[in-house]
Amino acid sequence: MKIKDLTVTACLAAAALVVFVIEAQIPPLGIPGVKLGLSNALVLMAMAVVGRKHAAMVLFVKIILGNIFAGTPASFLFSLFGGAAAYAVMALTFKFFGRNKMWVTSALGALANNAGQLVAALLIMRTSAVLVYIPLLVIAGLAAGIFTGLAAQFSVRAYDKLRR
């Protein structure tokens, strides 16, 4: 591992962690339980600037430390299921869409994130009552995913300029 990649990965992981912890403190606006998931933008950005493997490390640090700092055992499980599903989908589609369509990758990742969390909810609660949330989760996932994807896209552009 190159020192530079290591440093950039560590910086992105730290940033993702800070965003995650701050976001956890904000009371839910509007719909209970729905949040923007802005820390995912940092994972996506890591995919673009240091590659998929390093992005997995950013995600790992974010989930483990983030839930230690600002979470519950239940939220850890939700993060893990959602994060793993989102990562899998984004890692598979990232190359295909490239840097100019990160918002598509991000939106698909956000949908996968919500699907993963729904599975976690099914496992924890053991009731199909949670399935009522599917339409809402699709809308929220698309909106949040596109927004965080664009945020990542602009960040990557700024990062590239900085390196030049």
């Binding site: 869409f97 598509v104 909810a121 053991r126 009731t127 339409p135």
Partner: protein
């Protein structure tokens, strides 16, 4: 030939923008349909870890406190609506959900594995996974 064409479509931002818009519109339509065609419920089913603890009629104003393995939830029934008025969980999503009264609506407290679901006639229309 066909493959490259399909790939080009899949790669275009417009295609995904339209697809996402259609998906969001369908979901929004479904939610609006449900909102306008909802029935007033008659019972609140309290579930913990997939098992029904009790079924409360929405007709009587009451307040019950449930001490589960993982914490305390107070369920309040008032004016035909049910809400979780108190929970000692950390995220308070169940309390923030407010009161519900239509068939199929539910309040979920994930930290305590507790759900409150409104049903029509009896608790038989609750499907336990």
């Amino acid at each position: 030939m066909d493959n490259t064409k399909a790939a080009a479509v899949l790669k275009s931002g417009v295609f995904w923008a339209v697809l996402f818009a259609v998906a969001a519109a369908l979901c929004a339509g479904y939610l609006i349909y449900k909102k306008t065609h909802q029935q007033t419920g008659r019972f609140a089913v309290i579930n913990v870890k997939g098992e029904t603890l009790t079924t409360l009629p929405l007709g009587e104003d009451t307040e019950y406190t449930f001490f589960t393995e993982r914490g305390v939830n107070t369920v309040m029934i008032k004016d035909g609506k049910v809400s979780v008025s108190y929970s000692d969980c950390k995220n308070q999503i169940c309390v923030d959900t407010g009161s519900i009264s239509h068939v199929g609506e539910s309040i979920i407290c994930a930290p305590h594995r507790l759900t409150v679901t409104v049903t029509g006639e009896t608790d038989t229309d609750v499907v336990v996974v």
